[in-house]
Amino acid sequence: MSSGAPFPAGREYIAPVGMLVPGSLRTAALLAALLLLWTACGRRSPSALEAKGGGGELRVVLPAEPTELDPNSSRDEIAHLLAPSLYSRLLMLDADSRLHPDLAESWEVSQGGLLYTFHLRHGVRWHDGHPFEAADVRWTLEQLAKHPAFAAEAVRRIDWVETPDEHTVIVHLREPWAPFLSTLAGFGTFILPRPSEGARWPAGAPPVGTGPFRFAEWVPGRRIVLAANRSFFRPGPFLDRVVYTFEPDPNRGPGLLTTGQADYLVQRPSLALLPRLARDPRLRVLTSPSDGRYYLAFNLRRRPFDDPRVREAFNRALDRPALLEHALYGYGAPGFGFYTPAVAWAYDPAARAPGLDRARARALLDAAGFRPDAEGVRLKLVLSCAPIAPYWEIAEVVAKQLRTVGISVHLEQITGRQWMERVLQRHDFELTLIGGNHGPDPENLNLRFGSRGTTQIMGYTNAQLDAALSEGARTVDLARRARAYFQAQEILAHDLPIAPLAEGVQITIYRRGVTGLPRAEARGLVPEYDFSLVRARGGAQNRGGGR
C-alpha cells in the first residue's frame, strides 16, 4: 500500500494543510485526500516486475572458458551458454517448446509457408545505444548465410530478405520449410548489430547485443562479468550482475554451491550424486525429462563399420536398461528408438534398434569375419570421448558391454575442443558418443543423419532418408510431417548408422535462494539460459560467512 501512496501515512500530511484553510475547506480537503488514498489503495501495483536490477548477483559455473562470444558460431559451445544473456532472437522457445515473441513482436506466415513477415518491437536499443532496426536482422541473416553454422538449414532456404521499413522484416523462402520459426528461436540465430559508421563489430571489441545483460568484464582464465541492461525491452533483468567462472571438473561444482562460492551450475555432476544433492537444504536440484539423448556413432567410412552386420552386432551387444542404470543411475530411459519421445508427435515407438542378443551379436561378427583371438578379442577399437558426465560413464559401460562379445574398446580421453576439431570437423575417429538436444523440431534428425547434416559425422548417406527428412520439413501439416519422420526413423532402424543408448534428462542445480530460472519459476516465460527473471537474494549473506 505504501508503495502506491505518495505519503507514508495520510494524517501527518493533511494536518498542516488544515491549519491554513477555513473549516469547510478543511473538510473538503480531508475528503479529497481520503478519496485519493482510497483510489490509491484500490489499485494494487502489479508487483515489482517493472523494476530493473536490485536482484543481486548470479554466479554461474561454466565447464570451460569460452574462446569467443560469437553467439552464432558453431566453433564454441560454451559461448552459447552466455548468448541468451547478451543477445536476443526474433522469437524464443520456452522450456515447453512454446514460441514466444522476442525481438519480433508478432509474425505472420503467408503464401503457403513461403513468406514470413516479422513485426519488430519498437524502441529496442543495442547495448551501445544505437536503435535496433530491421536492417540488423537482415545483416545477421546475411552473415549466417556467409558462415553456415547451426541455422544453416534455415538460412539455406532463405531466398531474400526484405525490410520495407525499420520495423518490418519479410523473409522470402525458396521453398516451404516447417522448422523455420523454431530454428530462428533456437541456437545460432541471435541477432547481431550490423556494422555502421565504421566498425561497430570489430574483432576483439566488446560484444554488443540487445539481451538482458551487457558485457562488462572478461578476466581471462578467471571470469566473465555481465551487467544488467537497464533498458532491456522485456521484464527484467532483476539481477545486477552475472559472473561466469570456469570449473572443468563437473564433480567440484556442487561443492562450490554448498560453500557459497557459486549460485548456478551449467555443467552437471555425475548423476550418482543427484539423490544426495537433492537432500542438501542449501541446494535445489531440478530434474526434468529432456529432448536430449545419447548414442554411439560409428565411422562408416572405416572398417569394420562399413559392414551392417557389425553395426547390428554392436546394437545387439548393448544392454540398454543396464546402461541406464549404471551410467545414468536410472535417470531418463533406455534408448531404443531413433528420436526423442519428448517430441511425442514425431516419435515412432515402433522404430527400434535390435535388443540385447549377445549370441546373435557374436554370430554376426563371425559372419563378418571378426573371429575372437586367443584372448577372445575380435575387434580392437578406439572410442573417443570427453571426460564429461555422463558421457564418460556411458563410454565406460558401453566398453564393458561390448567386451562381452569380444569387442575391445579403448577409451580415448579427449577434450571438448579436441572433439570438435577432430571428430566433428575431421571425422578422425572410430567410435564416439554424441548427445544433445533433439528438439524442438524433428528437423534435428536432418542435422544428425541427413547426408548434409552438420553433426552427421558417421559418413552415412541414404537418399531415401534424405527424401523422407526433406518431405518432413516441407509441409506444415503435422500429421504428414509425422508420417515422414516415422519413415525416417524406420530407415535408421534398418541402417543402424548408430547405436542409440539412452534418453537423457535435464538437470538444473542451483543454490537455494535463487528464483526465476527458466526451468523453475520462469518456466513458460523465457528461453533456456535466459537469466532476465532470476533473482539471487541471500547470495551476499552466504558469501559473507554462511558457514
Partner: protein, 835 residues
Amino acid sequence: MTGAGKDPAPWRDRLLWRNWPWAAKLAFLLGLLAIVPLAIVTLYNAAAGRAELITATREQNLRQARNTAGAIDDYLRGVLSDLRIVAIAPETSRFLAGESHPHLPEDVRLSLLQMRDTHRFDALYLTDSNGRVVLATSDRLLGRSYVSAPYVRNAMAGNASLDAPRWDPQDRRVFLHASAPVRDALGRIAGAAVGRVSLEGIDHIVMADTNYAGRAEIGVLWDSNGIRLSHPTQPPLRFRALEPLPPDTAARFAAENRFGPDTLKRVNGGPLLPDLVERSRWLLYDEGSDPFLRIQSGGRVIHAALVPLKSVNWLYGIFSPEDAILASIQQQTRRNLLLAGLTALLAAAAAFAAARWVTSPLRQVGRAARALAAGDMTRRVGIDQRDEVGTLAAAFDAMAESLAAKEAELRGYADHLEQRVEEQTAALRASGEELRALYAREQELRRAAEEANRTKDEFLSTVSHELRTPLNAILGWTWLLSSGKLDEEGLRRGVATIERNARAQSQIIDDLLDVSRIITGKLRLSIEPVDLIQVVEAALDSISPAVDAKEIWIERRLDPEAARAKGDPQRLQQIVWNLLSNAVKFTPRGGRVEIAVARRDSQTEIQVSDTGIGIPPDFLGHVFDRFRQADSSSTRAHGGLGLGLAIVRHLVELHGGTVEARSGGEGRGATFLVRLPVPALVPAALPSERAVPAGGRPVPAKAASAVEGLNVLLVDDEADTREMLPIVLSQFGVRVTAASSAAEALDALEHSRIDLLVADIGMPGEDGYSLIGKVRSLNGRNGSLPAIALTAYAAEPDRQKALAAGFQLHLAKPVETNELVSALAALASGGRQAL
C-alpha cells in the same frame, strides 16, 4: 440562425423560459430543488457503491479462490503423497529392481489395490525404465508402453509430480496422473509408479464455488496454456482454451491427440479472454503480481480473481460478471431515483397550486390591461385588498383613468394632424408635375441629340455616295475616251460629262471644306466694296448650264440702287449661287426661278424664289441645319450633300445678315430671303473688271487675247500638272516652259525669256516660298517677274502667306482653265489686285 429566428413558431415562443407562467416557473424550480440533491446523493452513493462493491467482490472472490485453490492443492498433494507411498514402498523398489521373489509381484499388486481402493485412484501401475507397465491394479494395463507419456518421463527424470489431465487413448477417458520414480537400494531410478484419478474430485471442489455468493460466480481451473481443466457445470467444455492457442501449440496438441478425438475443436473453440494466459504465467512466476483481471468479453465485463496453485503449474480463478455484481446496487439506485422523482413531482404540484393562488389577482390585472389595450377604456380591476396586489390594482385603475383622459386629448391632435397631411400631399403632387415637365424636356433633348447623331451618320453615307457618283461617270467616260472608238459627238459628250462630274465633285469638296471651316471657326472674310448685281450675274453665269438643261426660266429683278454693298465678293457669290442652284435643283423642268436684289430700309435683300417642290412645314425650321435634307433616303430624287443652305446661313451671318426660308408647303415652291446690312459708307467706284473665280464659264475673250504669246514658266513637281497645263494654255497661245523643281526654274529663268511665273508651293527640297524669295532677289526684269502661286494649300492663311512671300496671285488647285487664263491675263496686263 435560421428562418426560425425570423418567424418563430408560437409554440416555440411559449417554450421560452421568460414566457412560462409563474406557476409553472415556480413548480419547475421547486421540483428541481427537490430532485437535484436527492439525485446527486443517490447517484453519488451508487457510483461510490459500485466501485466499493466491485472491490469488495473482487477481494471476496480472491479469498474464496484462495480457499478453493488450497483445497485443490490439498487434494492433489494427497493424491501425490499416496502415490509416493507406493513408490517408496520397499517391495515396489525390490520388484522394479528386478528381485525375483516368487510372492513379490503379488504383494506389490495387493498394496497397489489397497491404495487404489482407499484413496479413490482409478488405477495404479508400475512401469519399467522403458515405460512399459509391468504391474498394475488392472490386468488390461499390463504390457502397455507409456514411454513417451510425460508423467512416466517425469518420474524417470526423478520427479514425483502431477501431470495435467489428459485423454487416455486406450481407456478413452480423461485422467489426472500422478507419478513418482521408484528407486532401487542405491538410489538409482528403477522405474515409475503411476496413479491415475478421474477428475470428479476436482470438479466437485470447483463446483462448490458456482454462484457461491449469489453473484453468478463461476470457478475456473486452467493450466499455463490457458486450457480449462475443469468445468463444474458443463463437463464437455473441459479442455476448452480460455484464449486462442498459438497455432503451433494447437497443432502439436492435435498431433499428439492430447485431449482426445476432438482435441483441435476443443482447444480452438474457446472464448476470447485476452491477457489471461500471459497473466497466468506471470502469476506462476511471481505470486505477488496483480491477481485481478478485468475481462471484456462479448460486450460483458467480467472480473476475475486468479490464484496460482502451489503443487502444480495450474491456476484457479473465480469469475464474476460485473452486471451480476452490481445487480443489487443497481436495483437500490433505481428505487432511490424513483423516490427522488416522486418527491420532485409532489413538490412541483404543490408549488404549481400555490403559485396559481398567489398570481390569481395578477391575472385579473392582466385581463383588465388587455381590455384597456383593446380599447375598453371603462374596464377597471376593482380588487378590495390592502396588500401588495391590492395596491397594484388600485394603481392600475388610476392609470386607466389617466389613460382615458389622455386618449381624448390625443384624438383632438389626430384631427389636426389629418389636415396637415392633406396639405402636404397637395404640395407633393405639384412638385411631381414639375418633375414630369423637366423629364419631358430632358427626353426631348435626348431625342434631339439622338437625331443629330443619326443625321450625321446619314450625312456621312451621303458624302460617300455623292463623291462616288461623279467618279463613276468620270471613270466610265475616261475609259470610253481612251478606247479611241468614239465619234465626234460621243467625244464631245464624254468630255462634257467628265467636266461636269469633276466640277460637281470639286463643288462637293469645296462645300465640305467650307463647312469644316465654319465648324472650326476658321472661315475669314475679305471685306471690300461689292456690286451685288455683278455677284448675282456671276452666280447666274456659273449655274446657267443646269438652268439650260432643265429649261428653267430665270427672272431677274435686280435693283441697281441696291447693288452697292460691302462684303467678301467670293462668299457673296457663293451665297447666291447656292440659293440659285438649290432653287434650280428643286424646281421641276420648265419651272421658274426668280432672283431679286432690293433695298428695304437699311438692309439689302436678296430673294430667291422658285416654283419647286416646296418645303414641308415641319422641315422649314431645319433647312439651314448642317447635314440636313428633307429626304435622306438613299433613293432620294435629288443629289447633293445638303450643305449648301447651311453654308449660306453661316456666310450670311458672317456678313451680319440673316437668311430665312418660306414655303407655302409641299409643291408650292420656296422662297429664300437674305438680308444684309447696308454699310454706312460704300465706295462709289468699284473695279470694273476683275477675275472672278467661278466654275464652268468659258474664258472671256478679252482675257484670251491678253494672254496670247505669253511666255510662262510653270514650276511643279507633279508631272501631270506639268503635262496638262501647257496643253491647256497652248490653246490660248501661251507658251509654257515647265520645270520640276526650284533649281530647274531658276535655270530656265536664266536661259529663257519668261513673262510670268506659275509656281507650286509644296515641292520636295526647295518649296515655292523659297523659289519666289530667290526670284525676287534676282536683278533686272526677272526680279519683278509676275508670279502666281498655284497650290493645293487653298486656305486663306495660305493665300496670305503666298502673297507675303512675293507672289502676286494665289490660285487654289484644282484650277479652272478660265480662272487661270483670267489670272494670267490680269498679271500680264500689269494689273495687280489682290484677290
